[in-house]
């Protein structure tokens, strides 16, 4: 019997290997392990064995069954895998075909950079405020130490609505409004549209954006101004960026300065972007003029502050290598989709 069992094991093993489908495999299973299968047939003869032999042969028979069952399971999974493999091959698609378009809109480049600047200043504790674009002459000029007939009015060709109402030429009026509405310590930026009577060309527009900043507190010095704007430059253009402060004149700050950053294209050695100077001007700033503090209802003996103004379009043009400002207001979708 032992021999018989060994025979079945061998035959079964060979038969299983030869199967090529789950159907054939099932037939083999019935043939060897089924109720009417060969193994069962052998086991039925167990009754004729001696009491000593029975457990031994029984053990052998179980081993053979287990062996065949294992072989069978293994073969099933092999065949299933092969079958799935074959099915997957028939499902092959052209993965190079374009994906289905996902319609999400684009942020305007002006907003992209403005968002970034806002985040930088929020991180430094600046609130964001806004002021009217149609503004009183008082806030746009008078309160900023630019009386009527001041030559500085020449450089800002103004759109007037009436003798006393105008389109603001700068975001600086927000300084006065902020001082009137809030008390020190004061840290605000005020982004927005400003208007000057410049004809449209590649670098001029009658409407553009500025970002005004104002800090007022006890003991604010020019060192604070420098530190804040240096941080801005590094966050905008990378930690290697250097800043350069040049004396300048604004009627509402004293001392005043213009701020250059080391050219982000050439790193400061000189290129077409920085006109060979290695520096690119990005903003104007200064210590708030004592008269302006007073106009904002703040005691200049107790408090000091600094203010700055950034031109957003300039930053955007630098950021994206844009050489024509008009693109920003044409809103051609082929332009908008680039950002």
């Amino acid at each position: 019997m032992r021999q018989q069992l060994e025979e079945i094991r061998k035959n079964a093993e060979a038969a299983l290997k030869a199967t090529n489908s789950l159907e054939e495999l099932d037939a083999a299973r019935v043939k060897y392990l089924g109720k009417k299968g060969e193994l069962t047939a052998v086991l039925k003869q167990m009754g004729g064995l001696s009491a000593e032999e029975r457990p031994i042969i029984g053990q052998v028979a179980n081993d053979v069954r287990e062996y065949i069952q294992n072989e069978l399971d293994e073969r099933i999974s092999e065949l299933k895998a092969a079958q799935q493999e074959a099915k997957l091959l028939t499902e092959t698609i052209d993965v190079t075909l374009p994906g289905e378009p996902c319609e999400v809109g684009n942020r305007h480049p002006l907003s992209i950079v403005l968002d970034e600047v806002k985040e930088i200043f929020q991180g430094m504790g600046f609130d964001i405020i806004s002021g009217p674009e149609v503004e009183l002459d008082y806030y746009n000029f008078e309160a900023l130490n630019i009386p009527k007939d001041h030559p500085a009015r020449d450089t800002q060709d103004t759109f007037y609505i009436t003798d006393n109402i105008l389109l603001r030429t700068q975001t600086s009026p927000c300084q006065i409004r902020a001082m009137e509405e809030r008390k020190p310590p004061l840290r605000v930026i005020s982004p927005g549209r400003v208007y000057r009577s410049d004809a449209v060309d590649a670098t001029h527009s009658p409407l553009f954006h500025q970002i005004e900043g104002l800090v007022v507190d006890e003991g604010i010095t020019m060192s604070d101004l420098k530190g804040t704007l240096d941080t801005l430059a590094k966050k905008l253009y990378g930690p290697e960026t250097k800043t350069r402060f040049r004396p300048h004149h604004f009627p509402f700050t004293e001392p005043s300065c213009e701020v250059d950053v080391s050219c982000f294209k050439c790193g400061g050695v000189g290129c077409s972007m920085c006109k060979g100077e290695g520096w690119v001007e990005i903003l104007g700033a200064g210590m708030v003029h004592p008269k302006v503090l007073k106009n904002g209802g703040i005691d200049p003996e107790k408090y000091s502050g600094f203010a700055f103004g950034l031109g957003l379009e300039r930053l955007v043009m630098f950021r994206f290598g844009l050489d024509d400002m008009r693109m920003l207001y044409e809103n051609d979708v082929r332009f908008l989709e680039q950002f």
């Binding site: 305007h108 430094m124 009577s197 004396p247």
Partner: protein, 793 residues
Amino acid sequence: MNLSKRWLGEFVQVEDTDRNFAEALTLSGSKVESYEHEGAVLENIVVGHVEEIERHPDSDHLWVCKIDDGSGDIIQIITGAQNVSKGDYVPVARHKSVIASGDKITAGKLRGLESRGMLCSLGELGLSAHDFPYAIEDGIFILGDDCDKTIGMDIRESIGLNDTIVEFEITSNRPDCLSIIGLARETAATYNLPLNLHTPEVKPGIEDVNDYLKVDIECKDKCYRYCGAVVKNVRVAPSPRWMRERLRAEGVRPINNIVDITNYVMLEYGQPMHAFDLRYLNGNHVIVRNAKDGETITTLDGEERTLTNEMMVIADEKAPVAVAGVMGGEFSGIMDDTDTIVFESACFNGVSVRRAAKALGMRTEASARFEKQLNPDDCDVCLNRALELIQMLDAGDVVNGMVDNYATPKEPVVLPFMPEWTNKFIGIDVPADEQAEILRKIGFTVENDKITAPAFRIDIEHQADISEEIARFYGYNNIPTRELAGVAKATLTERQRFNKLLEKTSMGCGLSEIQTFSFISPKSYDKIRLPENSTLRNCVTIMNPLGEDTSVMRTTAIPSMLEVLGRNYARKNDKAALYELATVYLSNGKDELPDENQSLVLGMYGKNYTYYSLKGIVEKILSVCGIEDYNVEPKKDASAFHPGRTGEFIVDGKQIAICGEIHPAVLENYGIGARAYVAVIDVEYLFEKANLVRIYKALPKFPATTRDLAFVANIDMPVLKLEKAISDVSGKFLENIELFDIFTGAQIGENKKSVAFNLRFRSAERTLTDDEVNSAVKKAIKAAEELGAVLRG
């Protein structure tokens, strides 16, 4: 302001490269825009000597010259000019040279003879007869005795075309720097070098000025000082080369010695001078007064000007001879037969000059300086300088003395010397004596803890001004940087967060952001067919617009959106889906500031877009804002929109949004050849009604029961109306009702449509029974029937 480095050298000797000089001055506060070298274009042009000259054998106008150009060889050059003679010294553009036009000169043949270069005219050197009055312009420049005739010398060196010109941007607070001396003072202080100022000395002349000139100032508030002097026996002639070349470097054309002297003094000191013919001064009497209303004067430029009593004139006993500080009268110039002149050096109120120049529409070099407010203290010095130059150039006989009417002497500005204050304000630690030293270098007096500002510094009025002077010479870039101290918390306002949400949602819905001008053409209102009596036509109007297209502040942003859609359409972009968070400006009457409100404008055109594409976005935005309870009503009378394809979103009886297809007539006005859809959402109202609070609702534990109901309704029955009627009566278990099918056709009947809804019922506590659902459905069917909709079998 241009600065001749050669002229600067008379006052301060600075040795540095041009680039470093530009940077140093820029960083101490005088911003250098650019610098250039005169004659920089010229290459390989030298002084040559004409050894021989003879006619070209094959030409009746060409000459063959043998030229010694210092190279060791005698070179042959052919010229067509007729003014060259043997022995002349001439500019020679050698083989491989470049002339002022940028053209390269090389050797070649002219009528068979070799020509190894070219003899140059003034023009070919970039000059004119103003620069060398003895030379002709349509011939070769024959070097005169004022040129260095060393053969082979670079021509630029020979004729003095070798200055460096530095262009400064001078800010409006520093008119003193609109002068060579002013910039020399800044240079000396920047480099810590001595400033060699010169006090003009006038040698004794003839007679007495008081016999020739009398000056009265009637408007002392506008004319602070008037100094006059007289020169007799004027000898008008060209100025010497040194004066001509300095004027040229400054961009001023040399005319003759008298005119040149006035310009020279203006450039040197910043003080405009005026010279006029004494013959035309009736009564030899200068009266500085306000013009009479309607009084006229013909100015130097030949224009007759009508004056007002706000303008100041220089008059004689009969009539005005000049508009003070702006321009002289037609007879006041220097003429060929001028014999006796008056020099004027005056100081006027800047605002008054500015107003007059503006009102007359003639800004001149003089008015541009006067209006920044000049310093009266130096009027006499400048006048003496002019007289000194007259004597130096032998341009006339100076009459002894000067008429000096200093009507309103300027009070010096005195401030306390507070070095600690400055240190604290700037964030530096500069000792008092160093601060005093800085101030002294730029003309301030520091004594007994008091600072006296020099008269030419009209901008000094506060301690902060003093601090700026210290800071800029200490060096802005040497001031330490410091992070802002203290913790400040920045938060977005609710509205700012709301706007962010709107924009994020719009982009998420596939719309790209646009930015358009806030001003539009008033014709835009016609283009969108806005009724004549619409209040939106009442807009904030710009008095001095650039053009009609940008002349009124928009009260609606629809035209801006349509313009952008139109532009994209014209550029053959096959679709556009856009939004703008636009500000509109709603007038509150002429003398009040307008309300600046925001509206969210959505716009699209393209093959796959319909009214429902855009409506879906509006619905999404309302939903994101937590607004569920709104009604949509057909809007037939919105003039910019299609009367049958426009809906109005109403919340609490007020329009929150309008959404529709643009009216074909409007599309045509904007050149849009496709159906376009625009929605306008009132952001102010949306913000008021928005509810951004979200509270978690448990997910359902029990199964839902659904029923599909199809009705046949009249074709014009708004589906929303039917839907609302059904959901109103379907009880508390109705979880959702959704339209899932709508169609028309013969099987439905004429003017009918089939509308099918899916109703989903659910209880949070248990599984609903069929009876419960059936009873709700019964009510729903009844409500539909009341609206004339019949359940389909």
